[in-house]
Amino acid sequence: MRSARAALLFLCSLTIATTAFAAPDDSQVERGHKVYDKWCFPCHGTGSGKPGTASLAARGQKPAVLEERTDLTAPAIKRFVRHGVLFMPMFRKTEISDAELDAVCAYLTRNNKPQ
């Protein structure tokens, strides 16, 4: 099943340490923050009425707010954006381009610690 495989991949990606770590540059992070605010925050942000955050919390993901995570990896983020999971749909390149997706990855991995 697509979503089950995706969920498994996501969990694996969260628990397996990245082998190559490079801190993203500030401008890329800033750009990614803007893309995140437009496309991700309405579902994954803080505050009430955020179904992505509520779903992750209900499924035991901590922290449930993606921006607060320090264990996300670019491959996992890309897989979820391009393939969707559960009720999260996939996103087309006219919505989030590959370059914008790279920037989102830079933003959501900005606080990761080198392994």
Binding site: P42, G49, P51, K93
Partner: protein, 526 residues
């Protein structure tokens, strides 16, 4: 490479080259990886061969590019499936109805062309989402509200063309549009209403122009590609109050709905609300389940009285000047007071504009003109998607009860419950009639989806037998529902087909949309 039906690989290859020349190579998507992004994330056909998957996608950046695409598609007889933001999840998303179609993705056409907060209108392109327009208005401090539907990433143009609804007094989105720009199948550009007048100063202020009013034929249809659309907006109101009306007995529903309809039709209540039964929202109670099974309204009345929850309720929203909304609520209470035992509850009361702290505390800001994705919580944290069954029923208590009976049976068939007693909210998205918005889960389970599709189709037939028709549907059921609108040997569909043949002789625009097929693909009707 996937091919459009009836198109040779050589012709398709030539057409793709021409698409690339017209709009740029970066915006013609042909790899499986890119094209799969156009699949319906909530498809009722997951893991089945029937799932309609496109052959390619093209994403123009302006009306001239749309014209070029239409001309190329006409020359090669390539079916184009037009989407705006492609986020019509629950009704088909960005996927075509006909597998192999080329998706015409208008998301890049996302310009807000004008917002006027003196005469309260906007002109936008199809790729503009409710989030986009809200941000535009908010960033500039304009004193207008938009009227989002539940999913804020939807397109104003797409939602209005699908005749979607919102929550404020501008809730009927097609009704609130004013003027269109449309590219026809032959590539010609038409502007409707006052837009047909060169240098018109009133395109977004007067709907009808001169001569036949044709805007309706471009809604829920496949007769043109809408590239601009005007909308009337709501002047930022001073205040909002809501009041809840609770009645205690089953049969009070008749008077409740009759008075409610009077308030709607006389303009006292102007916004979307719903009629529900508070009995449907308590914790599971074996006694209540047994009473439901017995069908004794007298016993249910006694139960509701003992629990002090009321049998039916309707929450009334009022928007406008503070003294006016207070007077409207007082008037409504006076009207409902003829029902013995009726109770009134003052609910939310707000002054506008909201500050950021006020807004952050509101779980669902959509009724206040603020787009959100909160609605996607509807299926729970592990939901895999949904689709909607949405019949229009009369605004009467009798119709509500009859519909409840039919929908309770559906719930039992789905194994959801033993009866809802009003668990399927009856909405007033549109004037004069109710619409039931019934949730069907989508799962990545072939057998469950097949069963749900079968139930869905039975429900379409059952509804038609009761005189109810759906206002909108998932692409998978468009043919079924158009079939139900069959007065005089499908005279309406035959009229649609006559227009289709005249306006789109090569059959390139969204084949099968709302049951309307081009001549070459039309199946013989029984």
């Amino acid at each position: 490479m996937r091919l459009p039906p009836g198109v040779s690989s050589r012709d398709f290859s030539d057409a793709l080259k021409q698409f690339e020349a017209a709009i740029g190579k970066d915006w013609v998507f042909t790899s499986d990886e890119d094209v799969d992004l156009y699949r319906d994330s909530y498809s009722p056909f997951w893991h089945e061969e029937e799932e309609p998957i496109p052959s390619a996608a093209v994403a123009p950046d302006g009306v001239e590019q749309v014209q070029k695409i239409a001309r190329i598609a006409s020359a090669y007889k390539i079916p184009l499936w037009t989407i705006s933001t492609g986020k019509n999840l629950g009704y088909g998303g960005s996927a075509p109805l006909l597998g192999g179609s080329v998706v015409l993705d208008l998301k890049r056409m996302d310009r807000v062309l004008e917002v006027n907060d003196k005469n309260h209108y906007a002109l936008v392109e199809p790729g503009v989402s409710y989030f986009d327009l809200y941000k535009y208005v908010h960033d500039r401090g304009l004193k207008v509200w938009i009227d989002p539907p539940d999913p804020g990433w939807g397109s104003l143009v797409g939602n209005a063309l699908e005749r979607g609804g919102g929550y404020t007094p501008m809730r009927d989105h097609f009704d609130c549009h004013c003027g269109m720009e449309v590219v026809l199948a032959n590539g010609e550009v038409v502007r409707t209403g006052m837009g047909a007048l060169p240098n018109s100063k009133t395109w977004q202020q007067y709907k009808y122009g001169f001569g036949p009013y044709v805007d309706g034929i471009f809604s829920q249809s496949n007769l043109g590609i809408v590239t601009k659309m005007g909308f009337w907006l709501f002047p930022e109101p001073e205040a909002y109050i809501a009041g809840n009306v609770v009645v205690s007995k089953h049969d009070d529903l008749f008077a409740l709905v009759e008075i409610f309809a009077n308030l709607i039709n006389s303009g006292v209540v102007q916004a979307t609300t719903n009629v529900v039964s508070p009995l449907a929202y308590g914790p599971p109670d074996p006694e209540l389940a047994a009473l439901r099974a017995s069908g004794s309204t007298k016993d249910l009345d006694e139960y509701a009285a003992r629990k002090n929850v009321g049998y039916w309720s309707v929450n009334l929203p009022f928007y406008g000047p503070a003294d006016v909304v207070a007077a409207q609520w007082e008037y409504a209470k006076r009207k409902f007071s003829v029902i013995p035992g009726v109770r009134f509850e003052d609910r939310a009361s707000y002054r506008f504009p909201f500050d950021a702290d006020q807004l952050a505390k509101i779980v669902n800001p959509v009724p206040f003109g603020v787009p959100s994705l909160q609605t996607f919580s509807i299926g729970g944290p592990r939901s895999q998607g949904h689709m909607w069954f949405s019949p229009i029923i009369p605004m009467t208590g009798e119709a509500v009860l009859e519909a409840q009976k039919v929908f309770d049976q559906v719930a039992r068939n789905l194994g959801l419950s033993t009866g809802s007693v009003g668990g399927f909210p009856i909405w007033s998205f549109f004037a004069r009639a109710f619409v039931i918005i019934y949730f069907f889960p989508i799962e990545h389970d072939v057998e469950k989806n097949r069963r749900n599709r079968e139930i869905f189709r039975r429900l379409v037939k059952s509804s038609a037998e009761h005189g109810w028709g759906e206002y909108r549907t998932h692409t998978a059921f468009m043919g079924d529902i158009m079939d139900a609108y069959s007065f005089n040997e499908h005279a309406l569909l035959r009229l649609h087909e006559t227009m289709k043949d005249a306006l789109d002789p090569n059959g390139i625009l969204s084949p099968g949309k709302n049951g309307i097929w081009p001549k070459g693909m039309r199946k013989a009707r029984a």
